[in-house]
Subunit: 289 residues, 2 copies
């Protein structure tokens, strides 16, 4: 999709890849499907399990249902009600946990020890990263000669997949990750060279609260040009802008990339810019304005 | 666009024509452009004027700006704040009026008498009706062999244009208008054979409060197969369904057609159905849920 007003404002050509229109409303079905269908029959005989604030959990639930194996999703207490409901609708078991990375991992480890389920990590998994990379693969096929590509970054699965796909197809395309100021562990990691989990990530972008994974980080530090940070205020404003102007529903985690453009954080003048809108699963009873 | 879940529910193929993605967020730019650019230089020398609860007013403002003539829009007091703001942004003068057909027409007549502006009626105008008909023209070109087409009906401009275009291209396609129960003057007119304005149309679908015009009615009574009515409750539920499932923003006036499908009012099983989503201009500060 395009947005005339935004293009005029930035004097650039902006091409949105709308993963909010993807099955189950987010790109996450790509990585989960690739991972779950790549596992051997022996590996999935006790089902699959993951932790997720929402979209990856939904994706694992759906992909597992399709493969015909049971799924369990560990979800933090502050996950949105809509996302919990959707995971349950696809038939997955839900286990609640504290809203921290440690809380998620402890609960998942306990479940896996008890059941022998195969873990499908939301991002620290090469099959998941490769699956998420198909977003950029398609975008480069659909829109040739992109000079910049903007990607939200949470755990880093999409950003690392985007980097690998883009470097292969379009080596000179700049790859920019965008994350919330309140969950800026990727920005810090790129600066210091090592990952440090934030004790209390604080942002409305619930899909981006996760800590960067070591596998994605190994790719990101080599291949990503920059990481930009945006405030929650800019995220909410960008989200509303997209709803009002483009008439499409995106969630706060998608809006970070639009926020970075509107805040002028990325040099795009005269360029062809790809923007990945990652999802549109919003709880309509709790809008941020 | 398509919606897998809705198609499975109805056992039909549903093709959405998304005029919410149209310039200025609604189909109305088609009729207003056709009308304003069809007028002679002499006819527009004192500008153009209209009355409208919103989208047609915005369309007239924009088309007049493009033709380089002044525009005035008479808007009822209960028109949405967003729509008033947008009309003003395009440089048109706004005159407030009572929220009735009489109130609108009186204020418009007074302005025209004082200025000599050319009236571009929102629907009771052959050039406007023809312009709106291009929605169906495109839909039939894009999706061959439609067997049913569903259209919201307010003043009847879009429905009459759809009927003329559809009868020409696809004579056996059933043409169904849908309107709110609280503004069912078109349904009544088709039943009794004459137009009777409702004293107090009462519906959330602000684009459909207008009374059927005589010119559209002359087409509709000959060419439209049926008119269905839906409650505001069903409209709100359908609007939310489209937001959640399709991730696109439609306004209540668009949602009437989806409501008719979900309520089972139209026989669509096994058929190819065209659905016109007329617009997506919603005041995000005042959502109906």
């Amino acid at each position: 999709m395009r947005c005339t007003q935004l293009e005029e404002m930035l004097s650039a050509k902006i091409f949105f890849k709308c993963e909010n229109f993807q099955e189950m409303g987010a790109f996450k079905i790509r990585g989960a499907s690739n991972a779950i269908f790549s596992l051997s029959g022996e590996a999935v005989k006790n089902g699959v399990a993951t932790h997720s604030s929402g979209n990856h959990g939904t994706a694992v639930a759906l992909a597992a249902k399709r493969r015909g194996v049971p799924a369990c999703v560990v979800m933090p207490e502050n996950a949105s009600a809509l996302k919990k409901r959707t995971v349950a609708e696809y038939g997955a078991k839900i286990i609640g946990c504290e809203s921290t990375m440690t809380g998620r991992e402890t609960a998942l480890a306990r479940y896996v020890a008890a059941t022998g389920a195969a873990v499908v990590h939301p991002y620290n998994d090469l099959a998941v990263m490769a699956g998420q990379g198909t977003v950029a693969l398609e975008l480069h096929e659909e829109v040739p000669d992109l000079e910049v590509i903007l990607v939200p970054v949470g755990g880093g699965g999409l950003l690392s997949g985007t980097a690998v796909a883009s470097r292969g197809l379009r080596p000179n395309c700049r790859i920019i990750g965008v994350e919330p100021l309140g969950a800026d562990d990727a920005w810090r990691a790129l600066k210091t060279g090592h990952i440090e989990a934030l004790a209390h990530p604080d942002t409305i972008a619930d899909g981006l609260r996760a800590t960067l994974g070591p596998l994605p980080f190994a790719v990101i530090r080599e291949q990503v040009d920059d990481i930009m940070r945006v405030s929650d205020k800019a995220i909410i404003s960008a989200m509303r802008y997209v709803w009002e102007r483009m008439k499409i529903i995106i969630e706060p985690s998608s809006a970070v990339v639009v926020a970075a453009l509107r805040e002028g954080l990325v040099e795009v003048k005269g360029r062809r810019v790809g923007v990945i809108l990652t999802g549109g699963n919003v709880d309509l009873d709790h809008l941020p304005w």
